[in-house]
């Protein structure tokens, strides 16, 4: 059975149109995003690994090398199993630093443009034969089906269609952050088509060529050599070498890297690929042995590479060969498209841009976009040219494996990137050059020689034989041995630059911490950022990039915090890296957004950034790092949940910690203050904290602060935080601070209530006596009023009225004293200047009311003009409490002396009684709350405690000397406020 070329061309065209349609509807958003972001779409798109080599060549490979063909997929399975250890760190790096290719990754790690150039050139050389192989697979499959050689224009036409597709759906925009959903969907569809086609052909072989599994088993039983032929090469051939090569190819081939990392949409998809992609490969290979045996059974007279097509030409439905052909076409086209996209990106970043950077006046986005489109066309056409040049009889596997060995040369560099932070740029470059040299000698030269381009006169097969190795083992072993030894050796004898060390740490670390955090950006605001960048990348591009970076970080355009500007600088570098490549972006940023070399920074400056990075990478930490992070979180939680306000600042007074209690106290969320200077805080916090930060005092007790017109009281404490990263000398001169705010407002309110309760309790105890004292004059007034009714003598009436008024005055005086004493008073200090003598008299009068029966004598010795500055009501409370105690301890007829005088700085008040005194064992606890020696109901135990508290509030001292049986002397010393005292005295005169 043969087919017309036109039919197959039409089928190919139709298939490509379907691809265009799928990509178009996906990119246009006509397909729900949940479909395209489904993990299976991503996993199927990874199927780009299976090219025409897998589709057609596997059967030929199996024919020649038996199960050796499985190695090409078993190595990939190993790489995907190691996904958490090997692939995920690469994904993290590509995402965080916007690296779009292996050349970007290696150039970023080794901070070398030369590394990028070398990797790109080698990728290009290694991939062109592979692209040529795909074109050849398509043309050969046409020959198989049509039995005629297709015209060259046909292959050229396919190349044109592929260029168009790659440009339309792979190079629609230039930003690395924009994923090509349409492309991914189309490549996934291609994988589905080739899997379906191969499985259908396999089922055809099983149920049509053979009559089912039983027939196949019978055939195998009759031909035991068929099974043996599969197993035998495993025991002799380069089984491990090929597994190793495919392991490398799984993530180092440009197309694999592109689909796996650059086009990855979600980590969920990536994680699922660890098992689902190997399953896809298994299904793809399940049909290979039955197809091979079917071809053998049918005695097909063709290269086994094309048995997939060949068996469908024998008694098969007419659609089946077309389906088989389309499967092969899809495998080839997907490979060409994705490889070209990956290579074009690398060529643009590492070859074209360093060679001719565009004028800043041009629109750099357009320049990059069209440059990339041009490169896509050039690469595919170069592949087409290579297709003409290579020797037609090269097996599909030969060309594929040459590419595999080529990309394996990047493995030492990638291992160094992930696991050896000491690896150096020189080591990588020398190792890679060594590996390339051996690869060229062992594989490329023989290929060119066989194709008739050159004549070397070398006899490599005899060299292989003499070393006991066949070709692949020889090339792989010696190229990688040379590469690896040079890499390690040169790395050990050379030193890294500081930039390379930073990049190495970023690659090696569990989390993406950059030491570029050190230092302050010279540009002080985002406008200066734009101006700096505009000189190189143009005004519009600079504006767009700064805006994009601000959006990425959730920052405002008026950002001025040094730490945030440093983050912005890094984000811009990352974004530019996606556009211009990591090295070019690094150079531009270093030149245009330079760091201020004079500004000093400390560890505290980076704390917020470090914490953000740790938070975003928490589940990636392992071992000791994970334990340390758990400890860090625990300590941080303690700090955050501390019921004291905590505010930590850098040496430059930039806030780094603002805990929850501080948020509650101030009403300012931490995100609004962290990173800002202390003095930029709103009132009263800016003045309060900035003032406290610079003062010499480490503690300020009982500081009154007015917040929203209400008084609050705080105890302030502070301690210095030396920076562990600085030397002893530096750390002394540049220390951060941690300030604690203890809110006393509630306590203050409680104490005021307690004092009021104590006064009310005193009044309660006075109540009966007060009633009696008021009752006597009232009785007198009543009698006088009675007499007045009948009295006619004006003199007597006058005298009676005077007596009534006198008695009324006495009542008013008693009530006034009570009122003064019992009013609730304000919370906190209500200082005023008052005459001490009058306060003492009032207190004595109050106490007399209660203790009149005892007939205790009170002697007050105090100058009338002696004034005190303080809370009158509270001082009065002190006197009442002390006098009550003295009176309680006294016997009838005893005397209580009250002496008040002033010396240099203090006003001293002494109360002496002749009572029973205080037992020695009670003297130490006498000021404790609720301590009392009185009977239940007679005292609360709060009196002396309140006295002590009030005296302390007035910054005074109280001392009690007591001799049991003789009496007690209480000495209260209160500081006098000289200025006010003089002022008040003047007024008094």
């Amino acid at each position: 059975m043969t087919y017309e070329l036109e039919i197959l061309f039409g089928a190919s065209l139709l298939y490509l149109l379907i691809l265009f349609f799928i990509a178009y509807v996906t990119d246009s958003g006509l397909v729900p995003e949940s479909w395209t972001s489904n993990p299976f779409v991503y996993i199927l798109s990874l199927g780009v690994y299976a090219t025409s080599w897998s589709y057609y060549g596997s059967v030929g490979f199996a024919e020649r090398e038996g199960y050796m063909f499985l190695t090409v997929y078993l190595g990939v399975t190993i790489a995907f199993l190691l996904s958490p250890l090997l692939l995920r760190p690469i994904l993290r790096l590509t995402r965080v630093y916007q690296l779009t290719s292996l050349a970007d990754l290696l150039a970023f790690r080794y901070r070398s443009q030369l590394a990028g150039i070398l990797v790109t050139l080698f990728m290009l050389i290694g991939s062109l034969p592979y692209i040529a192989l795909q074109i050849r697979a398509i043309t050969t499959s046409l020959i198989v089906l049509t039995r005629e050689v297709p015209p060259q224009q046909l292959a050229l036409g396919f190349c044109g269609m592929l260029i168009l597709f790659a440009i339309m759906f792979g190079a629609r925009n230039i930003s690395a952050r924009e994923k090509h959903r349409g492309l991914v969907a189309a490549i996934a569809f291609e994988s589905l088509v080739k899997l379906t086609a191969l499985l259908v052909v396999g089922l055809f072989a099983l149920f049509h060529v053979f009559s089912g599994p039983v027939d196949l088993s019978n055939w195998l039983a009759a031909h035991p050599e068929a099974t043996q032929a599969l197993y035998a090469p495993m025991r002799e051939g380069p089984w491990l070498t090929l597994i190793f090569l495919s392991f490398c190819a799984a993530f180092l081939l440009p197309r694999q890297f592109h689909m796996m990392f650059t086009e990855n949409l979600s980590i969920r998809s990536f994680a699922a690929s660890s098992w689902a992609f190997p399953l896809f490969l298994l299904l793809l290979n399940l049909a290979i042995p039955p197809i091979l045996w079917a071809g053998n059974h049918l005695n097909l007279e063709m290269d086994a590479d094309y048995y997939v097509l060949g068996i469908t030409l024998v008694n098969a439905p007419e659609w089946l060969p077309v389906l088989a052909y389309i499967g092969g076409f899809s495998a080839a086209s997907a490979m060409v498209i994705v490889t070209t996209l990956a290579l074009s990106s690398m060529c643009m970043t590492h070859l074209l841009l360093p060679a001719s950077y565009p004028d800043p006046l041009l629109n750099i986005y357009l320049w990059l976009l069209w440059g990339r489109r041009l490169l896509i066309a050039i690469i595919i056409m170069a592949g087409f040219g290579f297709y003409h040049l290579i020797e037609q009889n090269q097996g599909l596997v030969q060309l594929g494996l040459i590419s595999f060995v080529a990309v394996a040369q990047f493995l030492p560099g990638v291992i160094g990137l992930l696991y050896w932070p000491q690896a150096t740029r020189q080591g990588f470059l020398v190792g890679l050059l060594g590996g390339i040299a051996v690869w060229g000698f062992a594989l490329l030269l023989p290929l060119l020689e066989r194709s008739g381009f050159i004549y070397t006169g070398l006899s490599l097969p005899s060299l292989h034989h003499s070393l006991g190795m066949e070709q692949w083992r020889f090339a792989t072993f010696w190229s990688l041995a040379c590469n690896g030894l040079l890499f390690v050796g040169v790395s050990l004898i050379t030193r890294q630059s500081s930039e390379e060390r930073d990049a190495a740490r970023a690659c090696y670390s569990d989390v993406s911490l950059l030491s570029a955090l050190k230092g302050v950006v010279a540009a002080g605001n985002t406008r200066q950022f734009t101006q700096g960048l505009a000189e190189i990348i143009g005004q519009d591009t600079a504006e767009q990039e700064v805006k994009q970076a601000l959006e990425d970080l959730g920052m405002e355009a008026d950002e001025i915090r040094p730490g945030e500007l440093r983050r912005l600088r890094e984000q811009i570098e990352r974004n530019l890296s996606g556009l211009l490549g990591p090295q070019m972006a690094h150079i531009i940023i270093n030149r245009q957004l330079a760091m201020d070399s004079e500004a000093k920074t400390a560890l505290a400056d980076s704390i917020r950034y470090i914490e953000e990075q740790l938070e975003s990478s928490r589940t990636e930490l392992k071992g000791l790092n994970a334990d340390m992070d758990t400890l860090r979180r625990f300590h941080r939680q303690i700090l955050l949940d501390l019921p004291l306000g905590v505010c930590a600042v850098t040496p430059d007074h930039q806030i780094v910690v603002w805990n929850l209690a501080m948020e509650v106290l101030s009403g300012i969320p931490s995100r609004h203050v962290v990173g800002y200077q202390l003095n930029t805080l709103p009132a009263p916090w800016g003045n309060l904290l900035a003032g406290f930060a610079v003062t010499q005092d480490r503690h300020i007790p009982h500081m009154e602060v007015t917040i929203e017109n209400r008084p609050h009281w705080f105890n302030l404490h502070k301690a210095t935080i030396p920076d562990p990263q600085l030397g002893a000398r530096d750390s002394k001169s540049r220390t951060g601070l941690v300030m604690l705010l203890e809110d006393l407002t509630d306590l203050e309110t409680l104490e005021a209530e307690l004092a009021h309760s104590d006064r009310l309790a005193s009044i309660g105890r006075l109540a009966a006596s007060v009633a009696h004292e008021i009752g006597n004059p009232v009785t007198g007034i009543a009698s006088l009023a009675q007499n007045l009714r009948d009295e006619k003598e004006p003199e007597i009436i006058e005298e009676s009225i005077a007596s009534i008024l006198h008695q009324t005055k006495r009542i008013s005086s008693i009530i006034g004293s009570l009122m003064n004493f019992s009013r609730s008073g304000s919370i906190g200090r209500d200082y005023q200047t008052f005459r001490l003598k009058q306060t003492i008299d009032d207190a004595v009068n109050l106490v007399k009311l209660a203790r009149s029966g005892k007939q205790v004598e009170y002697n007050v010795s105090c100058r009338k003009k002696l004034r005190l500055v303080g809370d009158r009501q509270r001082i009065s409370q002190v006197l009442v409490n002390l006098l009550t105690n003295a009176c309680d301890a006294s016997k009838p007829g005893d005397r209580i002396e009250i002496i008040a005088f002033q010396d240099e700085e203090y006003i001293q008040l002494e109360l002496m009684d002749q009572g029973q005194g205080i037992p020695e064992q009670d003297q130490d606890v006498i000021f404790e709350p609720f301590f009392t020696t009185k009977k239940p109901g007679e005292g609360t135990g709060l009196g002396l405690s309140m006295v002590h508290k009030i005296i302390q509030e007035h910054q005074g001292r109280i001392k009690i000397d007591s001799v049991p049986g003789t009496g007690t002397r209480v000495v209260v010393r209160l500081p006098q406020h000289r200025d006010q005292q003089i002022h008040e005295t003047d007024i008094d005169h």
């Binding site: 190993i78 495993m234 392992k622």
Partner: protein
Amino acid sequence: MPKMTDPGRQYEQTILLLLFMLFLFASPFTSWWATGQYAWFLPYIFWLMVILIAAWLHFRFRNHDL
């Protein structure tokens, strides 16, 4: 199935699975089953076993952070 998030455990089990795969496909055991006296689909069975264990590990450690 209880979900685990400890990356250390995940790495340990990944390494164990790798060792198992190497035992199946790159050890003297490989030479033993590659003598050809067993069913032709034996390598596929081994391969499938590894994939199923990998899938089980994937669902056990649903770690979707970078």
